[in-house]
Each structure stands twice: as C-alpha cells, then as structure tokens.
Amino acid sequence: MVAQSQVELVRTDPELPPVGVVERGPAPPARRVGLVVVAVLGAVAWSVLALVRGEHVNAVWFVFAAVCTYVIAYRFYARLVESRIVRPRDDRATPAEQLDNAKDFMPTDRRVLYGHHFAAIAGAGPLVGPVLAAQMGYLPGTVWIIVGCVLGGAVQDYLVLALSVRRHGRSVGQMARDELGRVGGVAALVAVFVIMIILIAVLALVVVNALAQSPWGVFSLAMTIPIALFMGVYLRVLRPGRVSEVTLIGVGLLLLAIVAGGWVAETSWGQDWFTLSPVALAWWLAAYGFAASVLPVWLLLAPRDYLSTFMKVGTIVLLAVGILVARPEVQAPAVSQFALRGDGPVFAGALFPFLFITIACGALSGFHSLIASGTTPKMLEKESQAKLIGYGGMMMESFVAVMALVTAVVIDQHLYFAINAPAGATGGTAETAAAYVNGLGLGGTPITPGEIQQAATAVGEESVVSRTGGAPTLALGMSQVLSSVVGGSGLAAFWYHFAIMFEALFILTTVDAGTRVARFMLSDSLGNLPGPGRRFRDPSWRVGAWLCALVVVALWGAIVLMGVTDPLGGINTLFPLFGIANQLLAAVALTVVTVVVVKKRLYRWVWIPALPLVWDLAVTMTASYQKVFSAEPRIGYWAQHRAFQDARAAGEQSFGVAKTPAEMDAVIRNTAIQGTLSIVFAGLVLVVVLAAVVVVVRSVRAGGLPTTEDPEVPSRLFAPKGMIPTPAEREVQAQWDARAADRVGSVAAR
C-alpha cells in the first residue's frame, strides 16, 4: 500500500538528512473509508439540524456537524489552498529558523505553537457573538460559524500566516504598505488603530455589563490582580522560569477567589464594597487599563497571560466534555421570527447583513490577521506547518463559537430574552420582564416572574433581567450544562461565576495587551512626524509612554462610558459597530492577500481569497450603509439621531426609551459618534480596497509584479507537517535523532 503513495524527500545539504517530506498520491484505503464515514455522519448531523421541526434537537448534533465539516474541509479545501496558492517549500528556512534568537524568533514544536496561536486568537469574542446571534434561532448562526470558518476565516488566517512567514514575520499593516503602496498602507494602519479602540471598548463593555451590581463577580475579578502581581513577583524574584508551577498556584488561587466571592457577597461589607454601578466599573476598568499598559510586563501582563492561556485551553475542554456528557436539548427554534422580520430586541436589523456582523469571531475575524502576522510566524518551524496552525487554529476557534451558541440555545427561550433584551424594553424587574417576554410570542410555556427570579437566585445573583452582553447568558447556559454533569444544583452558582470569571479574565487580557499595542502604534506614528513629535520614538521616554497610554485609554474609555449610560442599551447599539470593525479588518487582510495572489499571476485560484473578500465586503458595506443611511431609527444611527433631535426641538420631555431631556441629549450625542465612526471605518477600508484595485490593474497589465517576498535561505531543520507524523516523517525524524545522538556521542568521546 505504501508503494501507491509517492514519497519525495527534500534535501538542502547532502551531508544532512532530508529537511522535508512531500507525500503525493492517493490516501491509504483505511483513511479513505474513514473519510467516507465522517462525511456520512456529518451529512446526517446537518440533516438533523436543518430538517427536524417540532421536537427538541439534541445539542450533540451540533458537535458532530461541526467536527465532521472541519475534518472534510481540512482534508480537501485546506489542501487545495495549500497546493494552489501557498505552495509551501520545506527547503526554505522560516524566519524562526533563520533569525533564531531563543526569544521572539524561535522554532517551536508545532503542537505547542498550535496552543500558543489558539490562545492568542481566541478570547471572549467567539463566546459573545454567537450568544447574541441566538435570537435568530440556532440554524443561521451555526451555518455561518461553520461555513464562514472553512471558506472565510480559516482561509484568511492561513494565507496571512503564509504571507508573513515569507516576509520575516512582518505585520499585516506593514505588508499592506509594501504591497499596496503608501496611501493604501496608511489607510490600513489608521484602520487597524481605530478598529482596535472600538474592539477594546466593546469588550470592556461586556465585562461591565456582566459585573455591574454583582459583588460576587467583582470580588473574584478584582482578586485576579493581586494574584497576577504575586505570580509576577514569584517569577521575577523567587523562582524565575518556573512558569507552570506558578500558573498552577495561580489557578488554585483563582478557584479559591471564585468560591470566596460567594462568601464575600453574603456579608454586608462585601456588598458595600463590591457592588459597583456600571459607571463606576467603567472608570475602574479605564484606570486598570492605563496602569496595566504602563507597568512593566513581568508584573501584571505576563502572569495574566499565563493564567488566561491555561484557563482558555482548560475551560474549552471542560465545556466540550460537558456538552457531550450532558447532551442537553435545544430550546430555541431553528429559525426564529426575529430572523425573518429583523426586529429582535437583542440586536436590530435583518438576518443579512446583521447576523454575519454579530458573529465575527468564530467565523471570520479580521483581528486574527494581527496575530497570524505578528507572533506566530516568528515561531513556525516549517512552511508546510502553516496549514495546521493557521487553518487548523481557526477551526478550533470556530468550534468554541459553536459551543457558545449551544449554551445559549439550551436555556429557556423566555429566560434568554429576559436576560438579553435591553432594560428599556424589559423594565428591569422580574415582573415587567416576564410580561415583556411573554408578549413576544415565543411559543411554549410562558415564564412567571418567580421563575426569572429563581434563575438569578440559583446562581447567586440579585437579578438576571437585562444582563446584556452575552456573558451572563453564556455563564447561565454553562452552569446549566456543567452542573448537570458535576455537582448538581449545589454547584450551579460556582459554575456561573466560574464562567463569568474566565470571560472577564480573557477580556482583561485583551484590554491590557490591546491598550499597550495601541499605545505603541500611537507613539510610533507621532515619532514619525517632523518636529518635537520625534521624541515619542524613544520607547524609554516615560512621559511619552504615559501620554500615549492616556490618549488610548481616554478614547476607548469614553466609548465604554457612552455605552453604559446609553438609554438605548450600549450592547444593542455598539455591538454591530464592533462586528463591522472586526470584519472590515478582515477585508483589509484579505485584500492584501488577494493582491499578492494577483501579483504572482495565480489568476485561476484568485477566487480562493476573493470569495471571502467579496462576501465580507458585501456584508460590511451593506451593514455600514444601513447603519448610516437607514430611515428606520432602530437600525440607522443618523435616523435615530434625527428622531431624537426633532423631539428635542419640539420641546418634548421624554421620547421613546429616553425618560428625561438629559437622556435624550445622550442619545443625540451617542448616535452622532456611532454614525461618524461607521462612516470613518467604511471610508478607510474603501480607500484600502481602491488602492488594491489600482495595484491589481497595474499588475495584470504588466503581466505580474514582483512581491516583497524574502530571498530564499536553505533550511537545515526538519519537523513533521501535521499533528501526527506520517510513517515517512517518522523515518526521517529517526535519521535526525540518530545524527544528534551521534554528535553528542562524539563530543563526549573527545
């Protein structure tokens, strides 16, 4: 059977064993049978999800549909992308091999790098978006998460990584400048900056909404700061390099902090100290973001990162096992009335484009391009491993998003809307919320105020009404799934706060790292200006660092404050902006990729990056257009703006959900800011796309243009390509191992 597949050994030096193994030809029969089985199982799972009506679907089918689709897509589509566009060459040394300095450039075992890359791309995003999108039913979200990933998100991540690996690990902003020219490059850089600000702001808003009025949650999260400081000092002074040791201690303390939060929330002083209003929490978060971005990395950022990497991998495994063991039944309809009418309370707008905006992370996330062109390419051992890391890493994030969707659709649907509709609609109390959701026409048994209150009490919270932002819903769903596996109702409150805690932990990690990155981008840009601004270029100038950090925090902090005080509900109005921003970044990344493919004259395969690019542009531009020009106040920022302005001019004292003139002014101001941001985002991306069109036309006329790929350096290193080495790869690895043992032996003999 081995004879059937052709194995080609790649060598760069006759003295050395091969540096690569290329295997062509048909797969062995056992694997082909396996693929057929996977395909059939996947088809059955999809049929169940799409066709079963009138009875509850089991959540396990989501897992099967997702995993089977990933396997088939990885085996066939990722391979097509690899052989037609990426064309990896294992005789070329990667930046990690060429520039190995045992610090940032460092060839890293592919399985370990997979973990690193996953921890860097996945955070709270894939957990929040699908929960909100659940208002449209389970089917549209599931289809978009899985199909969007295999044809869009994973392709973007993979291609950006492959591009960056051939360019010394340069960032997507720099690559845009190199490939698109000055105008496109500058627009891309500005877009990255403003998009980062809105991203941090909306994530911070999710934390605020999850923790406001929750002394338990606030205490647990506040404790993560002293825990991180302790870990930082431990590693710096006591036992440098014992990272996993201190992480285990940290995780232990973290679990203790969650349990202790329950005790503290019972005491009167605990309630006094840790019950914070949304506005107070927003100020605390801004203060934290500032401190974290100017403090040395070893003290706060690095230990937090260890904790959140560990928690990320751990919790996701826990959730997957929980779903498979508990096998909960889905309560949501396949396609809800809101999907058809586009008037849902969680987010406004029709299925197209707003479902695809709400779920960005998990399907197609532009922010990944910053990771795939930042840290990861500097650690890749072999070019051929980019498929596993880039495409495979995104599949894992997509899987996380599917599980998040499952947790939102297995809870009672009346409860779901009571939690996720803005306070303006639910009225904020269990009684008014029950009346509101029972009037939505959801079908099934109506909910009583007592049941809503019971749901809150069961998880140790005062109230769950209008706890928007996705995190409380996810936590409630997770608590339901996990407590049915471990601990029963006695542990429901623990699991709820465990889920809130890890989401907040991920978000804070993104907030402080993001603030730091944005601070550096700002000081770099200021440093490039002529005149006194030059001083900003010096990273050791503390005043400059603090000024830039202050500006960055003020920018996102203002948006968070705007969100928490927004009478219309901050998540409701700001989340679409977050999704649009993230996907516009994807448009920038995919544009850069497409231009490179055209420059290399791979015209036949240009559809591979162009397909997600065109789709993404259609989604983001339609959404931006509606957000700016729609006459429907619930959708269009400016329509809302004018409606409130007119009401104010007519001398009205309240209008819609705004109960006072001051609240009306707030809506007028907020909608103006949001509308302006929408225009700026879309405008910047259009500049990038137009610059790209110019380059594409020039390239086609010239019959191809040179790209900025690095010159080739022959590789002197071998590593297997996929997660599990093939027999041929094992043989080559054995040759390298024997050679290493030989050399150690000969050194010892001397």
């Binding site: 190995d100 610090k103 940032d104 460092m106 040791e245 992480t247 990497t309 560990f310 990771i371």
Partner: protein
Amino acid sequence: MSDATAVGRRTDARGRGVVRGIVRAGAAVRWYTTTLLGDRDYARYVAHLARTHPGAVPVTEKEYWRARHAEQDAHPSARCC
C-alpha cells in the same frame, strides 16, 4: 503452570500496560503544559547558545527572563478578542 497463574500473569501484564499508558499520558500532558507556558525556554536558550556560539557563557535563568520581559516590554503583541 496452572491456568490461574497464567491468567494472573496476563492480568498483571495488562495492568502494567495500563499503568505505563497512564504514566506516558501524564508525561505527555506535563511536557505539553511546561513547553506551552515556557518552563523549557531557558534550557532551550542554553542549548541554542552552545550551538551557535560554542564556549560563550550563558546568562543566568533570572537574567534570561529579565531580558525576555524587557523584550516584551518594548515589542508588545496583541491578543485577540
């Protein structure tokens, strides 16, 4: 040799196999976690230095991590949502 001892020996062998499997899985988890978090980075640096600059004296583990963190201080990397 009676059947009973043969069966006993076989169960014994299987038991040892299971224990060996668990030990191996534990070692794999330990290897993965420590490599992922960075416990082995210093050893890797020492080996790297020995390979690229034979004879050079490596800095202490404390110094190595100070340099790593200083590097991170100067070149921050983003985390996604």
